[in-house]
Every structure is written in structure tokens, then in C-alpha cells.
């Protein structure tokens, strides 16, 4: 893209794609914005204009709102914690020369290819079922009382399911980062008297900082909109109602499109705030 000519040619050629993307993004956004100012309840046949900010205040002041924000943050935070820590450990293990390395690596990545709905169903019925689940059998074998995961520790169960799905992603990114660590640096640290733990703390972790940032940022974006796993397992009950799920309930279950749209806009704003905060906190790792 060096010359004036090639730059303007590039602009012309990119225009259709940019236009398509803009339409793709702007039309739903504008529609949502418009709906959020209406009293729009299709089942009752109301489609009245000029609610103003009524929908917004109603959404925010409802008792479900605050708890859903907290649940969302807990879900995202919990999954991030598990996937980042687990990812670092797994990546370190996979970096060791082991027999059948290639196969093991593919197996580790496999959960990422399973659809969220499917994996949630598998977890719900095969693992967490209090009567027939594998966990129940395990607990019984150990002489313990099986627990009904999805009603006794519902949020934790969902965090577990989602973490299982996202662990491969974190592992993969962190593994490539670990593999790019200069081996002479590690040897130098070894000669400098750093044991395995010091080397991990002083060499590997700082080297991984950038990739951890990437993992956290990308995962946050996707985790804020987790839906299928909640829908399939608890249906939003037992304190697992996230903001996304609340919006869904307002639109589909209460048939209040106006209120739901206002919630959607609020969710977008909150997601941007989270992203901004994250960029501030961890984003500085990306420069340098």
C-alpha cells in the first residue's frame, strides 16, 4: 500500500465489504434503538410510540437487573479464572516432550468444536444428573452423597461447563506463546540459579502476559453473551440469569419487545464499559 494510486485502488475495492458490514451492523442497532423507545408488545397488539426513556428506567429499576449484572460478572470472571489458570498449566504440560504429543494436542482442542447446546446437554445429562450422572456414580463409589449439581450449585455448574468449552482456546493460544519462548533465555536463567518455579514466575509468566491479555479480551467478548448453556441447563432459574438471559426473557417470555430492546442497548453499553476497563487494566500488555 505504498503509492497514492494503490491506496485509492484499495479503498475502492474495500468499499463494498465495508458498506455491507456497516449495513449489517447498523440496521439491527438502529431498529433496536427505535424499538426501545416504543411500547411494543406484539401479543397484546400494542405498538405505541413515544415511551421515551420509560423502557430504560423500567428495565434498570426492576429487581432482576442488578442481580443479573452480578451473575454475568460472576460467570465471566469465574470462567476467565479457570480457563486462564488451567490454560497456563495445560500449555506447560503440552509443551513437554511426551509420547503421542500430536494426538494429545488434537484431543485437547476437541471440546472447542462441540456446539454449546450439545456440550451443555451432555454435561447436564451425562455428568451432572444426580441419579445417573457420572459424577453421581463417582460420589457413590466414594461413599458420598451425590449432589444435584444444577440445583445445588447451578452457577458453578454452568461456569464449569463453559470453562470446559473455552479451556482449549486458552490452552492453544498460550501453548503457541510458550513455544515461542527463547530456549537460550531459559537456559541462561537456569545457569543463573533459577529453579523451575522461579523460571516459570520470572520468565514464562512475563512472556505469556501478552497472550493472557488476548485470551482475556477475546473470551470476555464471547462470554458476555453466553446463552445456550443457561437455556439448556437451568433456564435462568436458581440465580443463573445473566443480562443476556434477562433480555431474552423480557422479549420472548414477557413478550415485551420494547423493554427487551432497552435491555439489549443497556447490555451493549455495559459490555463496552467492561471492554474499556479491561483494555485499561490489561491492555497495556499489548503495547511494548
Amino acid at each position: 500500500m505504498a503509492t497514492q494510486h494503490s491506496r485509492s485502488a484499495a479503498r475502492v475495492m474495500m468499499a463494498p465489504a465495508v458498506f455491507l458490514l456497516l449495513v449489517w451492523m447498523l440496521v439491527p442497532l438502529i431498529l433496536t434503538l427505535w424499538f426501545s423507545t416504543l411500547d411494543y408488545r406484539p401479543m397484546r397488539g400494542t405498538f405505541d410510540c413515544c415511551e421515551g426513556l420509560g423502557n430504560y428506567t423500567r428495565f434498570v429499576t426492576s429487581s432482576a437487573f442488578l442481580s443479573s449484572v452480578v451473575t454475568t460478572l460472576q460467570l465471566v470472571g469465574g470462567v476467565l479464572l479457570i480457563t486462564v489458570i488451567g490454560g497456563i498449566l495445560l500449555a506447560n504440560l503440552l509443551d513437554q516432550p511426551i509420547w503421542g504429543q500430536g494426538v494429545v494436542r488434537i484431543l485437547v482442542i476437541a471440546p472447542f468444536f462441540v456446539m454449546p447446546t450439545v456440550s451443555a446437554l451432555v454435561w447436564k445429562n451425562m455428568f451432572m444428573n444426580p441419579v445417573n450422572g457420572l459424577f453421581a456414580h463417582l460420589f457413590k463409589a466414594l461413599g458420598l452423597q451425590p449432589i444435584d449439581w444444577l440445583s445445588q450449585a447451578p452457577l458453578f455448574s454452568i461456569i464449569l461447563i463453559v470453562s470446559w468449552q473455552w479451556l482449549p482456546f486458552a490452552t492453544l493460544i498460550l501453548l503457541t506463546a510458550i513455544q515461542s519462548l527463547d530456549s537460550e533465555q531459559m537456559e541462561a536463567a537456569e545457569m543463573d540459579g533459577a529453579g523451575p518455579i522461579s523460571r516459570f514466575y520470572h520468565m514464562t509468566l512475563p512472556h505469556l502476559a501478552r497472550s493472557i491479555t488476548v485470551v482475556v479480551l477475546i473470551q470476555t467478548i464471547f462470554l458476555l453473551s453466553i446463552f445456550a448453556e443457561i437455556y439448556v441447563t437451568t433456564g435462568g432459574a436458581f440465580g443463573t440469569r445473566t443480562l443476556t438471559y434477562l433480555v431474552y426473557q423480557r422479549v420472548i417470555e414477557s413478550q415485551n419487545v420494547g423493554l427487551g430492546s432497552a435491555g439489549g442497548i443497556i447490555a451493549v453499553i455495559l459490555a463496552n464499559i467492561v471492554a474499556l476497563v479491561l483494555m485499561r487494566v490489561v491492555g497495556k500488555n499489548l503495547d511494548a
Binding site: 537460550e184 537456559e187 541462561a188 536463567a189 537456569e190 545457569m191 543463573d192 540459579g193 533459577a194 520470572h202
Partner: protein, 334 residues
């Protein structure tokens, strides 16, 4: 103290024997240079001594105690890597302080030692920079600084100057030599540059395919190379090696004569040839001379002002006292 003894040390990667059993004694305070062509096992040997590579057979003793199975950090050696291997996320100060921190020294002691090393190596003004913000020569100094603060019993250098430009290399060469004089610590230095080997070493170890071809002082190796390989490797430009009937005249398979021991004689000489390419260095001129019946052209050193041109006829006379003779096995005939 830094006396290192290798006893029948052998190294194989799988089935490939990189270093056949090898004995070597390095005395305390010596500057030893490992030199040899690429891939001959210099780095591997150094890494065996450092403990970064496991010895397949044999024993390594440091100051008389068996260190064969000791971990690298327990051997009391410091290494400077070719890539410098600085820690990119730490400032220069933290880089140099790292081994001290790992050794559990107090912050005061660390500061004192880092400042001392920085002064010796002229790094004072860079202490708060990251390695990425330094030039190659400065990085090299930081790597050396990180090595000297540990006060090791021996320093190991793996081609430390090969990433520097020619002028800087000469400067750093002097600095390292000076450092050795001042610290009087054993240094083992790997290079494939025989000028570095000649100028810095107390003792040169010439390696070829993992075998030691000769061990000796630079001048020993220059004056009396033990075999054809060492003869061709030590000295710059290379020694002229002549085979065939000319060598047979001296009862040898191969004879060798260095470019500086060939005199350009007027009118007549032992050999007569045609001047090919000439390299004028100012102080010296090197002529490449094709002599009838010789397989390879001879290199001749003449004074800087000799004016001979391409295609001129030249008469050469070797200094008989400086003629090296080698037998069919390539070994020196005394």
C-alpha cells in the same frame, strides 16, 4: 578457582556420536579458546561443561570434584550466549541483578554489585533501559555484566561476538581480554574465527568433527601444527598446502608454507608462476599465484608497496626453515 578436567567425555544425540571420547585439562585462570569449523561440536562441548547437555559417558571435574551430574546452577560457571539471552521484560539493572536475586542476596549487596559491574562495563547510563532499547554491543556488555556479578569460577562464551560488526568486534575482543587479565578467572571461549582464537587465547583447542586435533598456545599451533587440518585452519590467510611431486621432493605427502614465508625474488626462484588476483590491504598485499603443476594457487604475502599486476610473472622462494612436512596420514614429520 576454575580448574576443569574432562575425562573420556563422550556425547551422542541418539545414534549420532557428536563428540567421541575426549580428554581435556583446563588450568585455573587460563583463557582457552575452542575453535573449529561449523558443526564440529564446539557449542556442544561448551554446553556439556555448562551442564545444559547431559554427558553420555565420561566425567567432568571442576576443581577436582565430580560435576558430571551436577545441575548447571550448582557448577559455579557463568555463560554468555551468542544471542545474549537477555531477559526482554527486565531492565538492564534487573537483568544483571537476576542471578544475585536468585542467590538470595540482600538488596543492598545486589545494588552494590550491579553498580560495580555497570561501572566496569560502562553501562551506568543504560541501567534503566530494556534490552530491546540497546545496541548489539551494549547488549553484549549486559550479558557479560550478568555473568561477572556472579563471580563464577569460570566463564563460558559461545561465539559472543559473532553478531557484532567488524569494528565493534575488535573493540569487544580487547575488552574481554582485558577483563580476563583483571579478573584472572578461567574463561572458555568458543569461536570459529581463528583471528579471535589467535589474539585472545592462552591455549587453543582445535576441534574437528568432535575430535581434538591439537591443543597448544597460539604460537605453538602456528609454528608446529600437528597435522594438515590444524595447519590449514590456523593462520590467516591459510597456509599453502602442496601435494604431488613437489612434496615428494621433500619426502612428504604434503608440504605446507605460510604466505608470509614465501619471498618474492627477482630473476629466479624455487617456483615461478603467474600473478592472479591481488588483495591490497595497505600494510600488506596478498597475491594469488598460479604455479605450473600445483593444484591450487599459492597465496603470497608481500609488502604493501610491491607493484605486480595481473598476469605478471613472479618468482617465489620458500623459507626452508618454515617449511612444514606432513606424511600420508596427514601427520607432521618432525
Amino acid at each position: 578457582m576454575g580448574r576443569i578436567t574432562l575425562d573420556k567425555v563422550r556425547k551422542a544425540f541418539g545414534d549420532v556420536e557428536v563428540i567421541p571420547p575426549l580428554d581435556l585439562r583446563i588450568e585455573d585462570g587460563e583463557f582457552v579458546v575452542f575453535v573449529g569449523p561449523s558443526g564440529c561440536g564446539k557449542s556442544t562441548l561448551l554446553r556439556l561443561i555448562a551442564g545444559l547437555e547431559d554427558v553420555t559417558d565420561g566425567e567432568i571435574r571442576i576443581d577436582g570434584t565430580d560435576a558430571t551430574r551436577l545441575s548447571p546452577s550448582k557448577r559455579g560457571l557463568a555463560m554468555v550466549f551468542q544471542s545474549y539471552a537477555l531477559y526482554p521484560h527486565m531492565s538492564v539493572r534487573k537483568n544483571i541483578a537476576f542471578p544475585l536475586k536468585m542467590a538470595g542476596l540482600s538488596q543492598d549487596q545486589i545494588d552494590a554489585k550491579v553498580d560495580g559491574a555497570a561501572k566496569v562495563l560502562n553501562l551506568d547510563s543504560y541501567l534503566d533501559r530494556r534490552p530491546g532499547q540497546l545496541s548489539g554491543g551494549q547488549r553484549q556488555r549486559v550479558a557479560i555484566g550478568r555473568a561477572i556479578v556472579r563471580e563464577p569460577s569460570a566463564f563460558l562464551f559461545d561465539e559472543p561476538l559473532s553478531n557484532l560488526d567488524a569494528a565493534l568486534r575488535v573493540g569487544m575482543r580487547l575488552e574481554i581480554s582485558e577483563l580476563h587479565k583483571r579478573l584472572a578467572t578461567t574463561m572458555i571461549y568458543v569461536t570459529h574465527d581463528q583471528v579471535e582464537a589467535m589474539t585472545m587465547a592462552d591455549k587453543i583447542v582445535v576441534l574437528n568433527a568432535g575430535r581434538i586435533e591439537q591443543v597448544g598456545s597460539p604460537l605453538d599451533l602456528y609454528r608446529a601444527p600437528r597435522n594438515v587440518f590444524v595447519a590449514g585452519f590456523i593462520g590467516s590467510p591459510k597456509m599453502n598446502l602442496i601435494t604431488g611431486p613437489e612434496a615428494a621432493k621433500h619426502n612428504a605427502q604434503t608440504i605446507g608454507i605460510r604466505p608470509e614465508h614465501l619471498a618474492v625474488t627477482d630473476g629466479s626462484g624455487t617456483w615461478t608462476g603467474k600473478v592472479g588476483v591481488s588483495e591490497h590491504l595497505g600494510s600488506d598485499t596478498f597475491f594469488h599465484v598460479t604455479v605450473e603443476g600445483f593444484e591450487t594457487p599459492l597465496t603470497v604475502r608481500a609488502g604493501g608497496e610491491v607493484s605486480l599486476h595481473y598476469g605478471d610473472t613472479i618468482h617465489l622462494t620458500p623459507d626452508p626453515a618454515q617449511l612444514h612436512r606432513f606424511d600420508a596420514q596427514g601427520l607432521r614429520i618432525a
